[in-house]
């Protein structure tokens, strides 16, 4: 496989052919904000947090799904990009009911961490305050749609790592939501294997272990990493 050299934020970087800008950047120690990206499952380019500027390309492109090419000149941080990222986060906070103070994931939440990091200190848009249900029909896990950002990580791990195909998306636009099977209560799902990978993958407090209380939802991603590395690289990481 041929290597490609490119410039990211003024830094000369080499990457394998077929690698994404996100992979190349992280190899070079450049961190990009991401929400829907999860190591081990394919990328969908949905959250638009990792949008970057590429010289000679009029459109902003997501780093997670754009492959590197020879001589590419990438800018990952600019005033404009930072502004857009902040606005995306504001839109997310206004969209559903993200109340950190009473959230199981408080302190361990990727949305919260990103908001701090991007300097989003308040939301300028009117909150929508939608009414969403909480599904606690499953004996082990719960799903609070109020905290869901529709990153579809849970759907992807369910289909492509566990292979159960329980989680899915129904509805469209602001009414889109994560469902189990054919829109049944999670507890009545025939396909769910109770593996808990969806809970491990969730960036916010939308999916949680039952019984967890405020701030207790720490996620252990090592299991996901273990399976993916074993499958893809045939390496059994201890």
């Amino acid at each position: 496989m041929a290597a490609k050299t490119l410039t990211i934020d003024g830094k000369e970087v080499s990457a394998a052919e077929g690698a994404t800008i996100l992979e190349a950047a992280s190899d070079a120690g450049i961190t990009l904000p991401t929400l829907c990206h999860l190591e081990g499952v394919y990328d969908v380019g949905a959250c638009r947090m990792c949008l970057v500027e590429i010289a000679g390309t009029p459109k902003l492109l997501p780093a997670c799904t754009t492959q590197v090419s020879e001589g590419m000149n990438v800018t990952t941080t600019s005033e404009r990009l930072q502004q857009y990222r902040k606005m995306i986060l504001e839109l997310l906070f206004a969209e559903r009911n993200h109340v950190c103070a009473v959230c199981v994931a408080n302190g361990h939440c990727e949305l919260q961490t990103l908001a701090y990091r991007q300097g989003m200190d308040h939301v300028r848009y009117d909150y929508c305050f939608p009414k969403w249900d909480v599904d606690i029909t499953h004996p082990l896990y719960g799903m609070d749609h109020n905290r869901c950002i529709l990153c579809t990580r849970c759907v992807r791990v369910c289909w492509h790592i566990e292979g159960a195909g329980t989680k899915n998306v129904a509805g469209r636009g602001a009414k889109a939501q994560i469902i189990t099977d054919l829109f049944q209560p999670w507890g009545e799902s025939d396909t769910c294997t109770n593996c808990g990978k969806c809970v491990m993958s969730c960036p916010t407090g939308a999916l949680f272990y039952r019984g967890a209380t405020v701030g207790e939802m720490e996620r252990d991603r090592s299991k996901l990493e273990f399976i993916v590395t074993a499958r893809e690289k045939k390496q059994w990481i201890p």
Binding site: L61, T66, Q83, I88, A94, D126, L150, V169
Partner: protein
């Protein structure tokens, strides 16, 4: 089927023609005002008058002046009867025997008809869309024969490049270039898709083409398949078009029976099958990557491009995807030559464009005009201006992805570049005329509501951004907004445009941006003074006037 057999069918069809023809519109518009009963009435009247050997009653596709339907046209006399009701049938047939009729007649020499140039709609209102013989009599499928027996795939692509045809779905990508890319993409299996998921409010061009002349689309697709090396085609048509679907099914069945689709077409090694896929009512499925996901049986959501469908489309195979009108142009380009096509239109926009005229305009219907025709000619001369003495205020093109062109810019020629320069787009061809009673902020909100409801929910800027923009527009209309809200709206328009994943989100702010550009005063009139003072982020308030 070989060329001789094809020509024999054509000769037979032409020889069977009776001295008189009564063409009765059987497209969805006229059928909704009972044209089926009119046609039945005409047939009965012909039989009662003993004229069955003299007069043919032919159900045809759209005759263009939809607002006056049901339409019946008598050949060769040329009289065009408007708003025909079933009881009128006898007197219309009576005119053929020298009688008189009270049925209102339209003027075939009205600019609405005389300024049209029909390429895509050449067979519309002339051939019977449910009989392939009728299409063959109009030289149908001779283009496909010529391509299969006298041209290499490369010749076809070069011809398309030379013709200057650009995609009629809205974006105007050069068709020849797209075909060439798919042809060059490596892959054993390739697909051709016809995008018939016409979803813009007020647009009905593609529906009319499918209902009036389905074979021209099938022929265009077959030519495309030969050019790019595909053997399977799909037509993705929305479920809201049942008549178009049934006519397509009939057309595909007839073409297969005659060996014009299927295996060894025209006794050549070329195989091509076409299947229909029916959409389930999502506007976003008109976006090519969402459409392909839907054809594959998945949830219809777009994915980032690149890779473009030409490289990796349906099931990862190189896929050519064009709009209905684009394909319908192809047979004529092959038959009459690329130079002929390139001689029509402007320097960068060749050929004609079909528009669906709707809204506050006298002559509602379908028009096909050469590229470069001035908007004023379309709405004032052909369209007859606003009804009831109204004054045209703006013309909306491109549906929810387009913009509003103000009346003082009506001298703009209709071509891709000029419309883009005005902040609108050519779009698929919906043209909605607005008069002085129209509130432009309401228009912006209408289209924003449409995009909000139709957003698939995959990417955040489109899903949550359209909600906030709609909320801000509502606030403005309800006179609850301030200059600060307007600034927020404009900032969101910019952000959603540049960060959304697919065309739906990227163009959703267009109607708002263009009305803000040309009708800003209408927004400002609705704003309230900012009572919170110049605090907060990005506040745009007017400085207090010193006493």
């Amino acid at each position: 089927m070989d060329l001789n057999e094809l020509l024999q069918i054509k000769e037979k069809e032409l020889a069977a023609q009776k001295p008189h023809t009564l063409r009765c519109c059987m497209a969805a518009g006229c059928m909704s005002s009972n044209s089926q009963a009119v046609k039945d009435g005409l047939e009965k009247a012909v039989a009662d008058a003993g004229l069955s050997n003299q007069v043919e009653v032919r159900g045809v596709g759209c005759m263009k002046l939809c607002c006056q339907g049901p339409l019946v046209q008598a050949d060769p006399a040329g009289a065009l009867y408007e708003r025909v009701t079933p009881p009128d049938a006898a007197s219309i047939v009576g005119t053929l025997l020298g009688g008189a009729t009270h049925v209102g007649k339209g003027d075939p020499h009205d600019p609405f008809f005389t300024k049209q140039l029909s390429i895509v709609l050449a067979n519309s209102g002339v051939v019977d869309p449910e009989r392939i013989e009728s299409y063959l009599a109009a030289d149908g499928y001779t283009g496909l024969h010529e391509v299969l027996h006298e041209m290499t795939p490369k010749d076809v692509v070069e011809g398309l490049v030379k013709s200057g045809l650009r995609g009629r779905g809205g974006a105007g990508f050069p068709t020849g270039l797209k075909w060439g890319t798919v042809a060059k993409s490596p892959g054993e299996k390739k697909y051709v898709i016809c995008n018939a998921d016409e979803g813009d409010p007020g647009a009905f061009m593609d529906r009319s083409v499918l209902e009036s002349d389905p074979h021209s689309v099938l022929e265009g697709m077959a030519i495309a398949a030969y050019a790019v090396g595909a053997d399977q085609g799909f037509i993705y048509v929305r479920a809201e078009y049942p008549l178009a679907i049934s006519r397509l099914q009939t057309a595909i069945r007839q073409a297969k029976q005659m060996g014009l689709l299927g295996s060894a077409i025209f006794e050549s090694p070329f195989n091509f099958n076409i299947d229909i896929r029916i959409g389930a009512g999502a506007f976003v499925c008109g976006e090519e990557t969402a459409l392909m996901a839907s054809v594959e049986g998945k949830r219809g959501t777009p994915r980032p491009r690149p890779p473009f469908p030409a490289e990796s489309g349906l099931w990862g195979c190189p896929t050519l995807i064009n709009n209905v009108e684009t394909f319908a142009n192809v047979p004529a380009i092959i038959r009459r030559g690329a130079d002929w096509f390139a001689s029509i239109g402007t320097e960068k926009s060749k050929g004609t464009k079909v528009f669906a005229l709707a809204g506050k305009i006298k002559n509602t219907g379908l028009i096909e005009v050469p590229m470069g025709t001035r908007l004023r000619d379309i709405v004032e001369q052909m369209g007859g201006g606003a009804p009831d003495g109204g004054r045209i205020k703006a013309v909306q093109t491109g549906g929810p992805s387009g913009g509003c062109i103000p009346a003082d810019a009506l001298d703009t020629p209709v071509d891709y570049e000029s419309l883009t320069k005005l902040g609108s787009i050519m779009g698929s061809g919906g043209m909605i005329v607005m008069d002085q009673t129209t509130n432009m902020v309401e228009i912006a909100r209408f289209f924003m509501e449409f995009c909000m409801d139709e957003s698939c929910g995959k990417c955040i800027p489109c899903r949550a951004g359209t909600v906030q923009m709609h909320h801000l527009l509502t606030k403005i209309i309800e006179r609850k907004a301030t200059l600060r809200d307007l600034a927020k709206l404009e900032e969101l328009c910019d952000m959603v445009k540049h960060t959304s994943l697919c065309g739906l989100g990227q163009t959703a702010p267009n109607p708002t941006v263009s009305t803000l550009r040309f009708f800003r005063h209408e927004y400002l009139e609705l704003l309230q003074p900012d009572t919170h003072g110049p605090h907060g982020n990005g506040a745009v308030t007017q400085p207090p006037v010193p006493a």
